[in-house]
Amino acid sequence: MARVLVGVKRVIDYAVKIRVKPDKSGVITDGIKHSMNPFDEIAVEEAVRMKEKKIAQEIIAVSCGPTQSQDTIRTALAMGVDRGIHVEISGPEYQTLQPIHVSKILAKLAQDEKVDLVILGKQAIDDDNNQTAQMTAGVLDWPSGTFCSKIENNNGELTITREIDGGLEIVKMKTPAVLSADLRLNEPRYATLPNIMKAKKKPIKKITPKDLGVDVTPRIEILSVEDPPVRQAGAILPDVDTLIVKLKESGHV
């Protein structure tokens, strides 16, 4: 039976309209609703389903970030994860924390915890990088199954359906492997109140990148974060005929 590591990131809630800081250093995060990255919820759900099917034996959730990241780990625990690891990184180091750092942390934990499968979301909806799973697989030299919409696990033999540009692709690989979850993989469950209460008793281990021997020196310098150009307000047209006239005027038809 497999041991599974899932990565969970605390991000600004997907429904929030973000605001850029006036000094262009980033976006405003203080006092803004945060939640678990939606793709990570899908990763957690998949791991929990593996446990329910008795394919997985233990699930460990990891989050790298400030103290509040523990809330995200608690959410994973309430969904059915067994225990958590909080890799504490805050302040300026967190501002420049990138997939390269996170992937090294996850790779080290995957080895230390002797896991067979790492499942991550395909991208975080804040930095939109879509890199961590691929890089974790690269660091470990494990196969990667990216953008999974279906994972069949037969004693460590994985048959994976991937979402690619023209449709779907099927690949096979053996564990240990790193997978990244696409939206279509599953529908994450809601944590019930009793499970949220139970999750409070589950252990979360706190460590630092230094404990793992991972250097989190910034690899990039953020020069600025700005608002995108605003589109000019358009016109509401009375009927289809006017629309056709407008499209003809602008040379589209």
């Binding site: 309209k17 973000i18 850029v20 390269i100 395909k122 909806i125 804040d126 930095d127 939109d128 879509n130 890199q131 961590t132 691929q134 890089m135 974790t136 697989a137 690269g138 660091v139 494990w142 196969p143 990667s144 990216t146 953008f147 919409s149 048959t159 991937r162 979402e163 690619i164 540009d165 023209g166 449709g167 779907l168 692709e169 099927i170 690949v171 096979k172 690989m173 939206l183 279509r184 910034p218 690899r219 990039i220 953020i222 020069l223 974060v225 608002d227 995108p228 589109r231 000019q232 358009g234 016109a235 509401i236 047209l237 009927d239 289809v240 629309l243 056709i244 499209l247 602008s250 589209h252």
Partner: protein, 333 residues
């Protein structure tokens, strides 16, 4: 010793003309017959970085593609790596090849289009090189300074990379297509003896068949959302699309409801399009959808809800029942 020389050269170059010493490897995406248009967008981005451009065409029976790539103006060399090992273009088989080429030729930049292929491959390469990749770049300010969007396109980040090799995926819609003409690059076959990876077994692809233009490069895109109510009703959009030679896309709601397949999804987590004309039909315009289409030149929205956020980005809005307006539009065009 030699590597010290190279390092010194690079260090000095920072104080003189940086661009002169850049050398970029563009990883071609192709279907064994043709280069995909996204690769031609990526070549334009490579030109913006400056310096030498080398294209890698790796795959199975892809000689024609390499010859194709030689015709791109500004490309100095094309590497052809033809082997069964690259079947399915898996990241596991391609990464060692790219690393070897990178070691031998000391590329300063490695580029690919930000497609499912590029997104799966480049971060693995970057991890092996111990550098931080840069995803979905929309503009290049300098050879080490790049612009990309974050938070579903709601903020624009300018970043400076400190790594010695920059591994970058390029947003196709942000760069022109480089035409495959007037070029005279040399094609060099690279040895491919030892790249068979037993890590991943490629089984098959199930591609959606369509005669319409490809979504990400179409000049006109018509998209349907939850308001379409069913998959059958998408026929209304297909009929209109045929008249306009348009591609048909969808919002996540339409995909999740099973109206159309996933690969038609436009948005933060689907495809990013920037056509001349985008017609959104029965789409409310959630942040995640706007991320995929708000750089379209002209946006038309057809929606019966006057409060729908899509009207805030639409150049022309029609508050109407799509089941009446779309057939009328088709008929009158």
């Amino acid at each position: 010793m030699f590597s010290i020389c190279v390092k010194t050269l690079r260090a000095t170059s920072k104080f003189t003309s940086l661009a002169r010493y850049e050398s970029t490897l563009v990883i071609a995406e192709h279907n064994s017959k043709n280069l995909l248009p996204l690769t031609c967008n990526t070549l334009t981005a490579a030109k913006k970085i400056g310096g030498d451009i080398t294209v890698l065409v790796a795959g199975t029976k892809c000689q024609a593609v390499a010859q194709n790539a030689c015709k791109a103006k500004g490309v100095s060399k094309v590497f052809l790596a033809d082997s069964d090992a690259f079947k399915g273009f898996t990241a596991e088989s391609l990464t060692p090849l790219i690393l070897k080429l990178c070691n031998e030729h000391k590329f300063t930049h490695i580029l690919a289009g930000a497609s499912a292929f590029g997104k799966a491959l480049l971060p693995r390469v970057a991890a092996k090189l111990d550098v931080s990749p840069i995803s979905d770049v929309i503009n290049i300010k300098a050879s080490d300074t790049f612009i990309r969007t974050i938070y579903a396109g709601n903020a624009i980040q300018t970043l400076k990379s400190k790594d010695n090799v920059k591994v970058i995926s390029i947003r196709g819609t942000s760069f022109e297509l480089l035409p495959l003409e007037d070029g005279d690059a040399k094609c060099e076959t690279v040895p491919t003896d030892d790249y068979t990876s037993n890590q991943v077994e490629y089984v098959k692809q199930e591609l959606s068949k369509s005669d319409r233009p490809e979504l990400t490069s179409a000049k006109v895109v018509i998209s349907g959302g939850r308001g379409m109510k069913s998959g059958e009703n998408f026929q209304l959009l297909y009929t209109l699309a045929d008249k306009l030679n348009a591609a048909v896309g969808a919002s996540r709601a339409a995909v999740d409801a099973g109206f159309v397949p996933n690969d038609m999804q436009i948005g933060q987590t689907g495809k990013i399009v920037a056509p001349n004309l985008y017609i959104a039909v029965g789409i409310s315009g959630a942040i995640q959808h706007l991320a995929g289409m708000k750089d379209s030149k002209t946006i038309v929205a057809i929606n019966k809800d006057p409060e729908a956020p899509i009207f805030q980005v639409a150049d022309y809005g029609l508050v109407a029942d799509l089941f009446k307006a779309v057939p009328e539009l088709t008929e009158k065009l």
